[in-house]
């Protein structure tokens, strides 16, 4: 990235996120100051940038964002948004503020804190890794979040603790004000041989237009296992840029699933760094877009050591004038012999005006590797449609079956049955 001075428009945009003290003791102050300084040198990406070719941020940064105030959400409204049949601990953030009265988590085997109540060992851990997993000098949104983000979630699972109950995090935006700005920060540290599953979901009540800027730093230590599910099901007036990076230790397994069904403009940057041998990584994504939705999934898998396995599967269905982009970058470092890296992006276009840009980018600097990538874009399989109809199933039901099946191929990789069912139910509301 070339260093440019921040332009006036971007400066105005960022200034909406006023620096706020995270807690009385100025959590991670030096890193925040570094990020703020880095931000001074950055500018908002334009479509001339190779990595931002398919996301037009211009309309977004023109918006007159206001830092969101606290909102009112009832327990019933939260209950209605929890995943049915899923026995989980859960935290609720309303307009970016933690809502303890709406949350229910009595975890004993591991640590769950918001950034406002970090003390002692937890605070030390947070400060040690803050800004170390997701670099803040490469992406303007990460820099902005690192410098000025005010709330977030810290989760630490100590060595060998295998947590059975998944943790659900609900991000609810409420109110009818215009252009709420929200920043949220996550740090998930999964200790050696530990395991955890986290589901984050986005919801809107009230119809306020909003923009969120989320950053998630995840460290999965040796032999640990982690699964992250992100449900982007907020209203179509909600936009977000999401940066998530995972660093994996030896013999660890990490799995991400991003499900996008509604929203205005969404950009998901997802980076995996496989920092030691024999890791396993799964990157899953499914998206059902319609209207004028815009989604850009930008993914990168870095094979840095030998004997690692990664599998990436993103599938989407685009209707109306929706536009999507998928970038799948796989970097195989010179040292990373015996790498197995697979990638697939499959799309169905249901309308002539929908579009998808898909771009695999493989950079391989080791010679003994297995890498494959594939991308397809097409219509619903006419042969399959005829086969189903020839068995008495009418066209509408047959289409529905095929759409569900298309998404199911991705969602069946989720280990939690209630989440799979919930996604299927969400798909049913669309098709």
């Amino acid at each position: 990235m070339s260093i440019q001075t921040i332009d006036s428009q971007a400066a105005a945009f960022f200034s909406r996120f006023q620096p706020v003290k995270v807690n009385g003791k100025s959590l991670a102050r030096s890193t925040r100051e570094e990020a703020a300084a880095a931000l001074e040198e950055m500018t908002i990406p334009t479509r001339k940038w190779e990595d931002w070719k398919y996301t037009n941020l211009a309309p977004l940064v023109k918006r007159n964002l206001n830092l969101a105030g606290k909102g009112e959400v009832s327990k019933e409204e939260v209950q209605a948004r929890l995943i049915p049949e899923l026995d989980s601990d859960y935290l609720v953030f309303v307009n970016g503020y933690f809502a303890p009265e709406l949350s229910d988590f009595a975890v004993t085997n591991y640590h769950v804190n918001t950034l406002h109540d970090l003390e002692g060992m937890e605070r030390e851990l947070f400060e040690a890794y803050f800004g170390q997993i997701v670099p803040f000098d490469q992406d303007v949104f990460t820099a902005m979040n690192t410098a000025y983000g005010r709330e977030g979630l810290f989760v630490y699972v100590p060595k060998a603790k295998m947590i059975e109950k998944p943790l659900q995090v609900l991000h609810i935006t409420t109110g009818s004000d215009k252009d709420l700005g929200i920043q949220h920060r996550n740090m998930f540290l999964i200790g050696e041989g530990a395991s955890l599953k986290i589901i984050e979901s986005y919801h809107t009540l009230g119809g306020a237009t909003s923009f969120r800027n989320d950053v998630t730093e995840i460290k999965v230590e040796d032999r640990a296992q982690f699964e992250h599910i992100r449900l982007q099901i907020a209203g179509n007036e909600a936009s977000q840029v999401n940066n998530l990076e995972i660093h994996q230790g030896r013999d660890s397994i990490a799995k991400t699933f991003v499900f996008t069904m509604s929203g205005d403009l969404i950009r998901n940057n997802l980076i995996f760094k496989l920092k030691d041998e024999h890791t396993e990584s799964h990157l899953m994504g499914a998206y059902l877009l319609d209207g004028t939705q815009k989604l850009d999934n930008f993914t990168q898998v870095n094979h840095m050591k030998p004997h690692c396995f990664s599998n990436e599967l993103y599938k989407g269905i685009m209707d109306d004038e929706a536009s999507g982009a998928f970038t799948g970058r796989i970097n195989v470092f010179p040292d990373a012999q015996k790498t197995n890296a697979y990638q697939s992006n499959r799309n169905i276009l249901l309308s002539d005006d929908a579009q998808i840009n898909t771009k695999p980018q493989l950079e391989i600097y080791a010679d003994d590797v297995k890498c494959s990538h594939g991308a397809t874009t097409g219509r619903l399989d006419e042969e399959a449609l005829f086969y189903l109809m020839a068995r008495g199933i009418n066209k509408t039901a047959a289409r529905k079956l095929l759409v569900h099946a298309f998404v199911l191929e991705v969602s069946e990789n989720i280990s939690l049955e209630p989440v799979r069912q919930y996604i299927d139910q969400l798909v049913s509301t669309r098709y």
Partner: protein
């Protein structure tokens, strides 16, 4: 039951069927044989309602209804079944979900109550035995990863589930080894009944050793050029199709 009169059909403006006549009565088994490109599979596709084929002339009635006026799913509802030559793999749709949707769609068409889960599973177990289908296959996605033989057996299994009035077998024997051929043929024979008819489309006589037809028709250049009893199949096997070609008037 099925009455085809002067059926003419083309694909991409290329005429394939050029005036085909055929009548099938309840309980009869008809075999259609013919060299490659004679229009055998086109006939199956047109009867099942595949969109790519355009019917340019003629009419087809099925139990008195205009078959060509019905969508493929309505034809299935009326009791027409096509065993596909190339069954389609549908990843993500489980066999059980598919069959249950199929069975209940057809029941709904016939204004019957849908089968409940228990009744459906019982039916599935019974019918599976007819085709000796590995019960693990019903846990998988439709045809996905099935061997050629398993796919064909699966077609006959679906036929057993849907209990059609007319079953069209489009080269069901192709790609089968002798054991699979015998299993498929025996399953079809078990499904024969006085009110169920079959139209067996095949390239070879060997399937007809097991599924003995009442009538054999030779299709050539889009028309039935010769009809006879089961012995016609043997004659074709012996002499090949050349004598048919020689005997047929130029089309």
């Amino acid at each position: 039951m099925l009455n085809i009169q002067n059926l003419q059909a083309s694909i991409e403006d290329q005429p394939i069927l050029k005036g085909l006549n055929l009548t099938i009565n309840p309980g009869e088994v008809h075999a259609i044989m013919g060299p490659n490109g004679s229009g055998k599979s086109t006939l199956a596709s047109v009867l099942a309602g595949r969109e790519e084929y355009e019917v340019t002339d003629g009419e087809v009635t099925f139990h008195g209804k205009d078959l060509l006026d019905l969508d493929p799913d309505e034809r299935a509802g009326e009791g027409l079944f096509l065993a596909f030559q190339y069954p389609v793999e549908i990843p993500g749709v489980s066999m059980t979900n598919f069959l249950r949707t199929s069975v209940n769609s057809i029941r709904e068409y016939r204004e019957e109550e849908p089968l409940n889960g228990a009744a459906f599973l019982k039916m599935m177990r019974e019918k599976q035995q007819i085709v000796e289908l590995d019960k693990n296959l019903t846990k998988r996605s439709v045809n996905e990863g099935f061997s050629g033989g398993e796919k064909k057996r699966n077609e006959v299994f679906q036929m057993a589930m849907l209990e059609p009035k007319l079953a069209i077998l489009d080269e069901t024997d192709s790609g089968l080894d002798i054991d699979a051929l015998r299993i498929v043929a025996e399953a079809v024979n078990k499904l024969r009944s006085p009110d169920r008819s079959f139209l067996v489309i095949t390239h070879y006589q060997r399937l007809l050793e097991y599924i003995v037809p009442d009538f054999v028709h030779v299709l050539y250049k889009g028309r039935i050029v010769k009809s006879g009893g089961k012995e016609l199949a043997l004659e074709l096997e012996e002499k090949g199709y050349d004598w048919i070609k020689a005997e047929s008037p130029a089309v």
